[in-house]
Subunit: 297 residues, 2 copies
């Protein structure tokens, strides 16, 4: 499941908990658009804000509504014992893989992070994607740690942050990683802005925020990349630049949450407080961008 386009939907909330109807509609939309996999309960899906029970419920809803599209969910938590329970819940829900970031409160060191992955991978039956996300975990993987973790059973992919939109730099980085890591490890772009570059320069998969809400253009980008048409993939991505501007300024989750609210696809507010989607002028600006790009519910 670690190829092509993996779409990460919101987990819309209401005052009373998960907005299950809206979530199922988001899943339906992804299936109809032909994404290659679904990353439910990613950072965009607010996994870090939800109870174990809610996470199990959302995982089940995603699997039940995704048809043949494989579903991955995040099992991250600050405590190893919770991660193990979440892994069990996710597998019982029928996910095809799990995503694990070294979520922390106290800053973790390399040995602690390795031991976390070692413990979890030992207790797993499905493939695991290493979620490297320093913006939220404040942990920086070294290449040496990538190498250690990639040797563990079930580890199948790495979601790599901060890859460059420059094709030469990205090609070099991916080649360097391939030389270090076992051949079966799939390399994925975390972050939408450089994804067209990553997919056309040897990356395997795009773990995508924008595709969780607006899958059509990302599906077209992934297909163009697969055909080897780098120019088309880049041109499609460049179309979305007005969104990338807002992503860079506010963080992608606030932007897609505001877009879903503006288009009536979820009730507002749909994010867990204290997080807030865009307000005021920036919300108006986003409304203009959605109209300009013809992004609709």
């Amino acid at each position: 499941m670690f190829t092509g386009l993996s779409a990460f939907p919101l987990t819309p909330l209401t005052e009373n908990g998960i907005d299950e109807k809206s979530f199922v509609r988001l899943i339906d939309r992804l299936v109809s658009a032909g994404v290659d996999s679904i990353g439910a309960l990613g950072s965009t899906g607010s996994y870090a804000y939800l109870t174990h029970e809610d996470r199990a419920r959302v995982a089940r809803l995603a699997v039940e509504n995704a048809g043949d599209v494989p579903v991955m969910v995040s099992i991250g938590s600050v405590r190893t014992s919770d991660v193990l329970r979440l892994a069990e819940d996710a597998q019982q829900a029928g996910v095809k893989s799990v995503l694990l970031a070294p979520v922390s409160y106290q800053k973790l060191n390399e040995d602690e992070v390795f031991t976390l992955y070692e413990t979890v991978s030992r207790n797993l039956s499905v493939p695991l994607c290493v979620y490297d996300n320093p913006n939220t975990t404040h942990f920086e993987f070294s290449d040496a740690l990538y190498m250690r973790v990639a040797q563990l059973p079930h580890v199948a992919s790495i979601k790599i942050p901060n890859l460059s939109p420059d094709p030469v730099a990205t090609r070099q980085r991916l080649d360097a990683l391939r030389a270090l890591l076992p051949a079966h490890i799939k390399l994925g772009a975390a972050g939408d802005l450089a994804a067209a570059t990553v997919l056309t320069q040897g990356g395997d998969v795009w773990y995508s925020v924008i595709a969780g809400l607006f899958p059509e253009i990302p599906v077209a980008i992934a297909r163009a990349a697969k055909r080897g048409n780098a120019a088309e993939a880049q041109a499609l991505s460049a179309q979305l630049e007005p969104l990338w501007v807002l992503f860079r300024k506010h963080g992608s989750v606030r932007v897609v949450a505001a877009a879903a609210e503006l288009l009536g696809m979820v009730s507002a507010p749909c994010l867990p407080l204290p997080l807030q989607s865009l307000g005021g002028d920036e919300r108006q600006r986003l409304a203009g961008v959605l109209e300009q790009l013809r992004l609709q519910a």
Copy 2:
């Protein structure tokens, strides 16, 4: 309760949950040593790793065993609704104040942090200490935000990180803050290394990790500072320099956890995985430091 020495004990764990007996012994030790207040369930007390139920239980144990010594607990969580529930639980347990850091997964902006404090302070009956801890929250308070938050009802103190061990710099910083903030806001040192300086240069309170395990020298430092004897306070703090070296290198929580394990005050491991206390050579080095400083169970 926001004056003198506030001691932050570990919450020792075993495989089966909270090690209540060891925790109560730690509280007894703090009461006997004459600390001015107890900060249970601080970062050192692993609040971010525990369930609501465990946090309520630990708060109750602390209050029941602290006698006349006022108890504060952390109510931090990534989600506002959880913070509100934790505040309610803490107050029902009988705490005299609460400590709140803007704990995050997605990086928070200033408006989100202000709204968090506004919401919580509106629903509170006890004083609140603002816990500014960028090492764990990855949020940097500006002075402008200090000013906004300090106007809120119940806000009574700020736990300030990264104050300087240089007396002139610390005096200037504290004077500058006093000029900005309402007079009733008590200014506290977070971080043990500069605490003697802070207490002798106009700070109100030392929120102390080391005092949570070894309260005697910190009590002596706080009393010397209160008598205006800066030289004695500084000399006592300088004695602890071998510990400060380890704090800087490994983070204070790993060091005090290893010390408690080495001295048999808790069972090992006492931290929630993936966190690990010191191992190998560094553990041996700590054992030597404890002996040299005559720090005992």
